[in-house]
Symmetry: C2
DNA sequence: CCCACTATTGACACCGGTATCATTAAGGGT
DNA sequence: ACCCTTAATGATACCGGTGTCAATAGTGGG
């Protein structure tokens, strides 16, 4: 198939240099400029841009050379218009924790870096009346290439249905599998809170309390199940009376934390379903003149920065948020490819980080 | 100028309803659909979309009615292509504090909500070799409508120059004015740290220490000047030996905090140039078995969440980050308008929030 | 009643890409 | 030498909007 082509004799480098000299910095080169410089039609240049097969090797190399020399970059807007799809990835979230969002966002950007995709952030209120309409409008109008969903919007079946209907690729990040494998990143919260339970059991604790998160979040239930499972493996259990309802905010941790001291029997260890609430519990103990872990051990979940800012520093379950974001971004890009057997992992494993907020129970 | 037009007799409502019935949910209506339904050219519809004058009132109302009924929304991509400008606003930042970024982002989204603009986030490393090239590429390729710059990238003159060269609207958020009025949001850090100094002076403190931020940030110097000015107004001063160099991270606060106890004379009050470092100082004191504010008072700057998570809670200077973001987004949109005398404020004023980390000096 | 003038509108090209389908040329088989 | 197949490429329409400029139709003045 070695077909000697006259094309290879053309000096693309000089051609490009000449162009640069003439048009230096005047305007961005377009596909037409590249095409006429290369002496081909714009369609052929388009084929090269899109790595389409059936372009002669010499032609392809020459065009690539010119593209490089004149610094041509296809206009995403024009491409998107013809493609009927933009090169934007949306992050739709309703999680109120800033730390979570920044980590997630950063991870997604890691995964998107150098691919030509840009990230558009879109917070929303899942309870709002216009939630679904707004989301649909956003996705449809921007013709998003793909969407990444974090809890708890990731748990919304109606939204997923809309995305499917619009033919928009999406990745749902959630504590358990809710969709087909390629569309999920599973964070396995149950494993994480089981580790928390094991840690406390191994320290010798026997009386536990739990501060739960917002009921509408899947993680709230997963974390509780995991914790209870973990205790059960040590023959221990969590008294229903010792489960206090929080809502993942610091303030709720503060309030429930104060109530902990009134429980009978007094728990020696508390598992708060996230760090914010755990920080609230610790502050409540401080305010009451008590110290963790002397009076009771406290474990959180997330391992966000707050865990190391407070004193005692928080023993907590680390979930690799940034890695999750990166994974999500990478997997999103595999949707275009037919051969997605090469897909990376779609699970992450949380693990316990021991700090000073846990210790042996008081005698 | 009341010119009775036959147009007003046309029943646009039924026309639109008929269309809906026929095409229900099949595809998004385009400008061509609207034009043919209204019996006008697409150019006239375009005029209506863009609030262009010289469209007959009846025609305009009829077209608007149809647009509403069929749920037409102009495609931002197509519009952008013709307009040679997208409807995307970029947020370029290198500030490593997640809390700052989320607040800022949220504020910008507040200001952008309902305007049809979307936010594209773009972190970067100002020290990186490719910083300027990357930024230019991003702005040029996406044909950004406007850009919002936060410290310290907002302080980069080269970047501002590129933006001007590309004809891209931008707003710089910084502690002092660095550009024309319409392009700045000034946060007046000097005022904030002056308030911190006054607070400590009024409590009776006389020996101070300062943990400074990263030298490359303008705020680092502004906050120090403000603090010193504030002290001077009370006839007090900050010994150069008591200025410790930090870098705005918690870890640096932790390290410098430990060194505070070795200073001679021992300071009775410390001003850390941000909350993260202040939290580090407080933790260092805790670790050393000392308590704030008994041994020394600590003041921070920013009033991020960490300030209330730690114990004692941090007295700090509140800067309205979210409002700043909103302001920036709003002002950015005034760039298109010729009459920008209506521009909102371009300054914000920080203020002190007293909590438990400050008190009277020890005897 | 004619004319310059203004308000309103549309035809057509264009923004910078991609899709479809036709066309051309080279290679293989007989 | 002839026909068929495949590789390579281009002509043209099209994506959904906007800009330019010409065309049309009332309006007020002389």
């Amino acid at each position: 198939m070695v077909r000697k082509s006259k094309k290879s004799d053309i000096d693309y480098v000089s051609i490009a240099q000449a162009w640069n000299a003439t048009h230096a910095g005047q305007r961005k080169p377009t596909i037409n400029d590249v095409a006429s410089l290369a002496g081909v039609s714009k369609k052929t240049v388009s084929r090269v841009i899109n790595d389409s097969p059936s372009v002669n090797e010499d032609t392809r190399n020459g065009i690539k050379e010119i593209i490089r020399r004149v610094g041509y970059r296809p206009d995403p807007q024009a491409r998107g218009l013809a493609f009927k799809r933009s090169f934007l990835v949306g992050l739709i979230y309703d999680n109120p924790n800033p730390q979570y969002i920044v980590n997630m966002q950063q991870g997604i950007l890691d995964g998107l870096h150098g691919t030509g995709f840009e990230l558009v952030v879109h917070p929303c209120e899942r309870n709002g009346e216009t939630f679904l309409d707004d989301a649909r409008q956003f996705i449809e109008l921007q013709k998003l290439y793909g969407v990444i969903l974090t809890p708890s919007v990731s748990e919304d079946e109606n939204l997923a249905e809309i995305l499917r209907e619009l033919g928009c690729a999406y990745i749902r990040i959630a504590s358990i599998a809710l969709d087909t494998e390629r569309r999920m990143i599973v964070t396995n919260d149950r494993i994480g809170s089981k580790a928390a339970a094991h840690h406390l059991a191994e320290l010798g604790h026997t009386r536990f309390a739990l501060i739960s998160g917002r009921r509408s979040f899947r993680s709230t239930h997963e974390r509780r199940y995991g914790f209870e499972e973990g205790l059960a493996e040590f023959g221990l259990e969590l008294a229903p009376s010792h489960v206090l309802q929080g809502d993942y905010t610091f303030e709720s941790g503060l309030m429930r934390g104060a109530e902990l001291l009134d429980l009978d029997p007094l728990p020696t260890a508390v598992f708060a379903e996230n760090d914010e609430m755990a920080a609230g519990v610790l502050q409540a103990l401080q305010v009451a003149g008590q110290n963790a872990p002397q009076i009771m051990s406290v474990v959180g979940y997330d391992d966000f920065e707050v865990a190391t800012r407070i004193w005692p520093r928080l023993t907590t379950v680390h979930s690799p948020t940034r890695e999750i974001g990166k994974l999500a971004a990478q997997r999103l890009q595999e949707f275009g490819v037919e051969d997605n057997t090469s897909a990376g992992p779609n699970q992450t494993t949380p693990y316990l980080v021991e700090r000073e907020s846990t210790g042996r129970p008081p005698d």
